[in-house]
């Protein structure tokens, strides 16, 4: 299965992520596909992570957790979030193909983050869903 994004689509995606998330204090956000490939990533310039490994592990983690959900009779979980002492990670499925991963500190409440992520996802769906609608 393959998909292509042109520069304009990528720019729009980045604008949305920057306005909704980075500008609101999120440290790092990346949009990946379920195979662990990075579509785009943004950060606030503070810390550099090994985003390639993060992406592969995030996809694997999400995949593993989805498998767990099915075992317990759930279609999927509505919240996948890991809390650290200083940094936290939140996962949000955009469509059957794409995931939005955000890394944020304790200055942002989870509730607020979820609100902003949900807004971003609504906008991103419009760009991403048509790309893969022929493939499922």
């Amino acid at each position: 299965m393959s998909y292509t994004l042109d520069q304009k689509q990528l720019d729009r995606i980045e604008d949305i992520l920057k306005a909704d998330l980075i500008d609101n204090g999120v440290r790092c956000v990346f949009l990946i596909d379920m195979a662990g490939n990075i579509v785009t990533n943004l950060d606030n310039g503070e810390k550099q992570h090994d985003i390639y490994s993060l992406a592969a592990l995030a996809a694997g983690n999400f995949g593993a957790v989805s498998a767990m959900a099915k075992i317990i009779g759930e279609n999927e979980f509505s919240l996948l979030f890991h809390k650290g002492k200083k940094e936290n990670i939140h996962f949000n499925k955009i469509s059957s193909e794409f995931l939005l991963i955000t890394i944020f500190g304790n200055d942002i409440s989870l509730g607020f983050l979820r609100l902003k992520v949900s807004e971003s996802v609504d906008q991103l769906k419009g760009i991403l869903e048509p790309l893969t609608s022929g493939h499922m």
Binding site: R12, I16, I108, L110, G111, F112, R114, E119
Partner: protein, 213 residues
């Protein structure tokens, strides 16, 4: 060197078992979990504050305002607590009216104000001076938040695109109606008025609380 074919009872037993298994029958198993609770006049409000921390829903915000209202009646005689509740009430109102445009620091302030209130309520013997000091600290934080909110409004040039509106290419699904500068200015004015009124009320209460002691 490879060595696993020693003719000892264990290896033989294992090999026989493996031969058997991969010709005929056998079964398999799994694992466990835990929980806890407590009460105070603020426990219902605490639950709501915690749930807002996880997820901001209209229902949670309504419950929040209701609880604050109830607690205000309960603590009518206590000026300091009343001020705390007023602040919480206005924060709740602000979150509700701003929706996703809410300033991110609002929740830090909300949690801090609640935590101080909780401290005061669970320490009935606290000295009045200490209570006032805690209140002042939270009022300062509240003022700071208000300043940040005004700053942010001032920094916004034209309407922030609430929906991904782009005149170029094909229109994507519009998330909501476009925010016009007039609407924004109206909302800002309303908010300023609201906060001003709340602060006046709080100042009155703080003054009378100071006079009492």
């Amino acid at each position: 060197m490879a060595d696993s074919s020693k003719p000892d009872p264990l290896s033989t037993a294992l090999d026989n078992r493996l031969d058997e298994l991969f010709r005929e029958d056998d079964p398999a198993p799994a694992a466990p979990a835990a929980g806890k609770a407590k009460t105070s006049p603020l426990s219902e409000l605490k639950k709501i504050v915690l749930s807002i921390d996880w997820e901001i829903t209209p229902e949670a915000l309504d419950s929040f305002s209701d609880q604050v209202r109830l607690l205000k009646e309960h603590y009518q005689g206590d000026k300091v607590i009343l001020v705390f509740l007023q602040v919480l009430g206005s924060l709740g109102q602000y979150i509700k009216s701003s929706r996703s445009k809410v300033h991110p620091s609002t929740f830090t302030v909300l949690n801090s104000v609640f935590a101080r209130l909780d401290e005061i309520v669970s320490t009935p013997k606290m000295a009045p001076a200490v209570r006032r000091k805690l209140l002042q600290a939270e009022m300062d934080a509240y003022q700071e938040l208000r300043a940040k909110i005004s700053q942010r409004r001032a920094a916004e040039p034209a309407a922030k695109p609430a929906a991904a509106i782009d005149t170029a290419a094909r229109p994507p699904a519009p998330a909501g109606r476009p925010v016009t500068p007039e609407m924004l200015a109206g909302a800002v004015a309303e908010l300023k008025e609201f906060i001003r009124a709340e602060l006046d009320a709080l100042r009155q209460l703080a003054k009378s609380a100071a006079r009492r002691d």
